[in-house]
């Protein structure tokens, strides 16, 4: 969920009414002060990105963990700003310099701390950290940086206090522009050229230089701090290497780190242990070499499921042995799609020459692309076999390869009689309720596109799908005969592995014991009463037929699929990612979390919308108590909260859809983020211009009603955008929608902060409300609502909250005290 990275990175809480005195350089220094405010936004954004990437290597990368970490970040930013906004700033420039310096230094400390934290937290070598450990580390490591950056913004905006009540809005604009610039620069330049310490020190040094220029009498302080970061920049290289080694010493004790490299998809680490080299991407084990088994077993199971697999497409896994094993069969062409060229480059350097050579054989093509985009762009009927070898659908990005829409695209790319296969973690013997939910969902999603499905049980399970009713088989003898027909050199193979690791005997090993038919039956009949994994009800399972000396009748794949209410996994409703989250929660020993998520997911969506109406309670109570001032304050706060909520849900919805239609979104994240921040900045600019003309009491209710209209219309807009033929047009439309997602807060915040009494305290409250809306939207939408209810319903869930805020705003504007004229701000 890196899509939320911009939230809270740079919000300004400020008021020139008290606490801050006019900027030291006077009105003439406007551009320099603006630059300082923008630089603060720049540093905030870079530090957030650096820390988030580092934390990603620590925890498991699930939506809920990332969402929780981002929420921690936003909460600490809000707390820092809130606290700083209540302390009078005698010298805002000095405060800015101190806050930015402290954030930079702490970020370096945090980077080092994250790398050595596994040992400190008692996490064993190779062990996945739990949710509490991840959240705890986020709070300890990233929290102070966020708080310092939060504290920096009131100071930065106080520099603009010459603008009076319009200072918050103007500072908001500058920092949004700085954040947008940082997002683009980091993604396209810094992530490729600099290590995390260098990025952090450079951003801090640049921000401090700008702050120093704006500081006037604090110039020496700022200059000294900038010089310090210059020095730190020089030692960042050794610091990065030393802490990276310490990380892996803690992580996999005994492994030696050969190399580390950054790509736009994450940090790649190459570790060696005895005769084995392992590749980790963002802290997760990607693959090891030599690996004779994984690719061989998958290729051996799948290549015999098609009559004559001439043209084969492998998405993932190619470099770790799958391509080598596919090419042991007689194929005409093999297209291998890998996402990250850097990872392939590092692996290629370590592969034996013979294995490296297979990628240069005629008919073998390596593509560095998003697999989904590659399939979408493929000509119809291009392949006989499509093999998907990717990690489980634990995130929205990965879930795109397990949806009905993707299987339909694969179906179009397959020739008649073509076969699609993918792997999914499973269990050989018993599918617990969460695993059955996930794998059952996937089985029926697959079945909705390919009417003939077989599952090879085991971990991972191999799902095979075809539209040809006659050829898929799980009979070990049949498969062994087909293998010998295609690879006659294996005849007489006695397990010596002379011609590769796989032999006909492996079919008996994998399919000869246990009961593959029973596993297929469980998945096919899911969620029928009495199926395994249902914890309660339905009575005991019937004894296996072999125990009574009988035999099964029909094979499960020949039986009708029983009627049941099933939700398929789709782009708009990625249920498999929620189910994967449930599996993870159960595995990591968080049964309460698993139960609570499952319980919440079973509640009617309308029920989840009701809490939004609670916004009305304080507003009505304040009115009833005869406190119009308090009611007006609550009105502004609830409006900002609702718009912050809507903005986050819009942004998430757009990004979810975008990656479904366009491909892996990580690479374009910087661009999209810059567009989003541009929306914020534009909104802020328009808001400023609008105020320059006249005040509009109905503005807030009207804006909130526009958000409601957006909630209703966005699903159609997203669908229409996805149906555009050209990827360039898709990108353009989604960019526009991303821009529009950022617009509401940009429009509202300057208005809300400028149109009421209360000074810095009020602005701080609005800032906190904005972040609270973002946190609520991110935590509710990403891990829970979108997977459970789908995009359309998720957008509707938040409508009552926005409606309530609009009603409150309307009531507040209706009883506004006349006589208060809003003066236009100085020109931008």
């Amino acid at each position: 969920m890196p899509e939320m990275r911009g939230k809270g990175a740079g919000r300004v809480v400020v008021s020139g009414e008290h606490g801050a005195r006019p900027g030291p350089c006077g009105p003439a220094a406007g551009p320099v002060l603006a630059l300082a405010a923008g630089a603060a936004g720049f540093e905030a954004q870079v530090l957030q990105l650096v820390l988030m990437r580092e934390l990603l290597t620590f925890f498991s990368g699930l939506e809920i963990v990332i969402g929780a970490t981002l929420s921690v970040w936003m909460a600490f930013t809000a707390a820092g700003a809130f606290a700083a906004g209540r302390i009078p700033a005698r010298n805002p420039a000095a405060r800015l310099v101190i806050a930015l310096s402290a954030a930079g230094v702490w970020t370096a400390v945090a980077l080092a701390a994250i790398r050595v934290s596994r040992g400190l937290l008692g996490i064993e070598s190779g062990e996945e950290p739990s949710l509490p450990a991840s959240v705890l580390l986020s709070m300890i490591a990233a929290g102070p940086s966020a708080a310092f950056l939060g504290a920096a913004f009131p100071a930065a905006a106080a520099l603009l206090s010459g603008l009076g009540r319009f200072a918050p809005g103007r500072a908001f604009l500058y920092e949004a522009a700085g954040g947008a610039f940082a997002g683009a620069v980091f993604t396209f330049v810094m992530a490729h050229l600099l290590n995390p310490f260098q990025s952090a020190f450079l951003a801090s040094g640049l921000a401090l230089t700008a702050a120093a220029a704006a500081a006037g009498r604090s110039f020496r302080l700022g200059g000294a701090a900038a010089a310090l970061f210059g020095f730190l920049l020089a030692v960042a290289g050794p610091l990065d290497r030393a802490t990276e080694k310490a990380r892996w010493r803690d992580w996999n004790e005994g492994y030696s780190m050969e190399e580390t490299a950054d790509s736009k998809y994450g940090r790649i680490s190459v570790l060696r242990y005895r005769d084995q080299t392992s590749f980790f991407e963002s802290g997760h084990l990607a693959f090891s070499i030599p690996d004779m088994e994984s690719g061989a077993e998958l290729a051996g199971m799948v290549m015999v499921q098609h009559r004559k697999p001439g043209c084969v497409l492998a998405i993932g896994g190619g470099i770790s042995g799958l391509a080598r094993e596919i090419l042991r069969f007689p194929v005409e062409s093999l297209d291998v799609v890998e996402l990250d060229p850097k990872l392939v480059e590092l692996a290629m350097r370590r592969l034996p020459a013979e294995e490296r050579g297979i990628f240069y054989k005629p008919g073998v093509r390596m593509h560095y692309a998003d697999g989904r985009l590659f399939v979408k762009r493929s000509d119809p009927e291009s392949f006989d076999l499509v093999l998907i070898c990717l990690p489980d659908p634990s995130t929205a990005s990965l879930n795109r390869f397990y949806t009905r829409e993707f299987f339909e695209e694969v179906g179009l790319a397959l020739r008649p009689g073509g076969v699609c296969a993918f792997t999914l973690s499973s269990a050989e013997n018993y599918l617990g309720s969460e695993l059955l939910l996930r794998n059952g969902t996937e089985y029926h999603t697959f079945l909705s596109v390919f009417p003939h499905v077989r599952v090879v049980p085991g971990d991972p399970a191999i799902f095979l799908g075809s539209r040809d009713p006659s050829y898929l088989s799980l009979d070990p003898d049949v498969l062994a005969d087909r293998l010998l027909e295609r690879r006659p050199e294996l005849a007489g193979e006695g397990g010596e592995g002379r011609h590769g690791w796989f032999s006909p005997h492996h079919y008996h090993m994998r399919l000869g014991s246990g009961d593959p038919a029973e596993v297929n039956r469980q998945l096919r009949t899911w969620p029928a009463p009495g199926s395994a994994g249902e914890p309660e009800g339905g009575g005991p399972r019937p004894l296996p037929s072999f125990l009574s000396g009988g035999r099964d009748g029909k094979d499960p794949w020949d039986e009708d699929v029983p009627e049941a209410e099933r939700t398929l996994n789709s782009d708009q409703r990625p249920g498999a990612s929620l189910a994967t989250l449930l599996v993870w929660a159960r595995k990591m020993g968080h049964p309460l979390l698993a139960d609570a998520l499952r319980g919440l997911s079973s509640l009617p969506v309308a029920f989840l919308a009701l809490p939004g109406l609670l916004l009305l309670v304080p507003a009505l109570a304040l009115r009833a108590a005869g406190r119009p001032g308090g009611a007006a304050g609550w009105s502004a706060a609830s409006a900002v909260f609702a718009v912050g909520l809507a903005e986050m849900v819009f942004e998430l919805s757009v990004l979810y859809s975008f990656q479904g239609y366009y491909g892996y979104v990580y690479g374009e994240m910087g661009f999209l983020f810059a567009v989003f921040m541009a929306g914020l900045a534009s909104g802020s600019w328009v808001s400023g211009r609008w105020f320059a003309e006249r005040g509009r009491p109905a503005f807030v209710p009207a804006l909130l009603l526009c958000c409601i209209a957006g909630s209703v219309c966005l699903p159609w807009a997203l669908a229409a955008a996805g149906s555009a033929g050209s990827p360039a047009i898709v990108l353009s439309i989604f960019s526009l929608l991303t821009f529009l997602s950022g617009l509401p807060v940009g429009l509202l915040f300057p208005h809300a902060s400028a149109s009421g009494e209360g000074g810095l305290g009020r602005a701080s409250s609005l800032y906190a409300a904005d972040l609270a809306g973002g946190i609520a939207g991110a935590l509710a939408a990403a891990p829970l609502l979108i997977p459970c209810a789908g995009l359309s319903a998720t957008l509707r869930v938040f409508v009552p909250a926005i409606l309530a805020a609009a009603l409150i705003a309307h009531l507040a504007s209706a009883c506004r005290t006349p006589g208060r004229e809003i003066q236009p701000p100085p020109p931008l």
Partner: protein, 414 residues
Amino acid sequence: MRNAGEEGLGSEAGACGGCGAAWKPLGRRGFLKRLAALAAGAAASPAISALMGFARSASASPAGWLEVEFYEKLKNNEILCHVCPFDCHLFDQEMCRCRTRTNLGGKLLTPAWNNPCIIRRDPIEKMPLNHFLPGEEQVSLAVGGCMLRCLYCQNWQQSQSMPQNLKNFACTPEDAVSGVLKQTPEDGAKKCRTIGFTYTEPIAWLEYAKAVGLHAKSRNVRVAMATSMFFKEKALRDACKYVTAFAAALKGWGELFYNKVIGTRDPKEERGDFKAVLKALEVVKEEGVWMEITNLVVPTYNDDMAGVKEMCGWIAKNLGTSVPLHFGRFVPEFKLKNLPRTPVETLDEARKIALDAGIKYVYTSNIAPHTGNNTYCPKCGEKIISRLGFKILSNGLRDGACPKCGEKVPGVWS
């Protein structure tokens, strides 16, 4: 309870204060772990969960529960369980660490009774047992629950659950045994005259295992048990009366490994958990029940060759050189998903050390093909049984002896 219950603080290794040991002083790691657990408690919102009716109680209806054999009643309805070395000290309504046995009103009862979650036919070699009716199959049974917390458990969905939370078969001991007797070879199918307790830890459901085992023995059906050997001596000697063969896990060498990876108590508590495993292995040897030892080689945790050498020396000295030893290959599972597979070089080296230590039958499992899958004659080096994983490719054994030199090969062959 001061003892291990469900997940959370109580399930941490070494938290068995109720059995006499006071809570140990918290170290830095311990403190942070508990802090993390505290955060988890807050984050997981048990109140919300309880409100929504998802909280589960160990004291569900005891209908169909069975009284446990090996336990001691104390005052005030307290109980001391004597099945495994954890010696869980339970107050009323509390559950043992194994997630099965529960103190209900001063009686130790178990719900793990007639409710296996797994029933399937498997090759016997899968236990792994290479010297026990090679080429035959068994009916495998497993019930939910386990007192250990192995970080790499392949069957965590069953082992880390209470039996009543799983979807089970209703299978009495009579059903299981008569089911085995109905397995008649047809069309070249394999013989099946064994019941195997495997996939989860049978010690957690020993009462059911015993009932099935005794019934099997009375009907001349063999019983194989794959176990961690985390037994109390009395319970183990009792089990030896009905078990025909043990696939006994010696998971690593040393208290520290057992504490870090398997979830036994901190070595500082000096409770001797690892020594209890060694003692159990000696007891089986003493009782004369067939046993093969398995050791999963987990990279960086228990693959130090000095430790392997020490372990092999101990086996050769205390259990004899004829006891087969299986080195298993680790694959990333459960909580160790980020630990790569065991390098083949490590397995080869471990096998060589074991052979050098005088152990005659050393196998490599979880990897096929591999030379270590086969049985070789320790005297003349002849390949007697050729295997690919747990599939037998050829069996040259003649009356339990090498076909070339006649050297007797120990095992249960008929």
